[in-house]
């Protein structure tokens, strides 16, 4: 039996949203590459900030 967890992180809920998944699937290759660029930049920024804090 599945149970809804009221403490689920809203970001996880977003990724479980069928509408969000459908929107992502409908993106063009160009849009996906642009999203990959942004995502990668943010990940690298995050990694650099963590290194700087150590």
């Amino acid at each position: 039996m599945s149970q809804v967890n009221s403490h689920t992180d809203p970001r996880q809920q977003t990724w479980n949203s069928p509408e969000q998944i459908a929107r992502h699937r409908a993106m063009s290759a160009t849009e996906r590459i642009k999203l990959c660029v942004e995502l990668s930049r943010e990940a690298l920024r995050f990694a650099a900030a963590r290194r700087a804090r150590r």
Binding site: H24, R25, A29, T30, R32, I33, K34, L35, C36, V37, L39, S40, R41, E42, A43, L44, A47
Partner: protein
């Protein structure tokens, strides 16, 4: 310095380097978007292309663990290169990476910049052959999006 893979591709195109973008950006183009720390490229063999690649890398102030000279870039490649616009991973004759000329490719244009990427079938074949954990995850996600082919 902000990672600028579009700028790297534009520079390689301007120098008429024959190459295809593989790895994370190719996987993203086919539907599985994840962060990647570098731009993976497979380059055509041959001295003329290695000379064009050398010129492009020089214009990006590139540095690597080996000299970025045509005589080096013409060989088997698995070399990470740091540039003004971020890291490039040059690949040729390594597991999971077919020869550029045998690679089935298609073009995608992003902000007026042409990307050559593997077709979905070529990408799946590369992922099967590479066989690392992240390749298996990418393959499973590609199968979910496109069917298991």
């Amino acid at each position: 310095m902000a990672f600028d893979p579009l700028g790297i591709v534009r520079t390689l195109n301007e120098h008429e380097v024959r190459f295809a973008v593989v790895g994370g950006f190719a996987v993203a183009a086919h539907g599985v978007v994840r962060a990647t720390e570098d731009l993976d490229v497979v380059t055509d063999r041959g001295l003329a292309n290695a000379e064009r690649l050398t010129a492009a890398l020089r214009s990006l102030n590139a540095t690597a663990s080996q000299p970025l000279e045509p005589e080096v870039l013409v060989r088997r490649l698995d070399l990470r290169v740091s540039t003004d616009l971020g890291q490039i991973h040059l690949l040729r004759e390594v597991p999971g990476i077919p020869d550029y000329r045998r690679l089935e490719r298609e073009s995608v244009e992003v902000d007026g910049i042409r990307f050559e990427i593997p077709t979905i079938e070529a990408l799946r074949q590369m992922k099967r052959e590479a066989g690392r954990d992240k390749d298996r995850i990418d393959l499973a996600e590609l199968d979910e999006l496109h069917g298991s082919g």
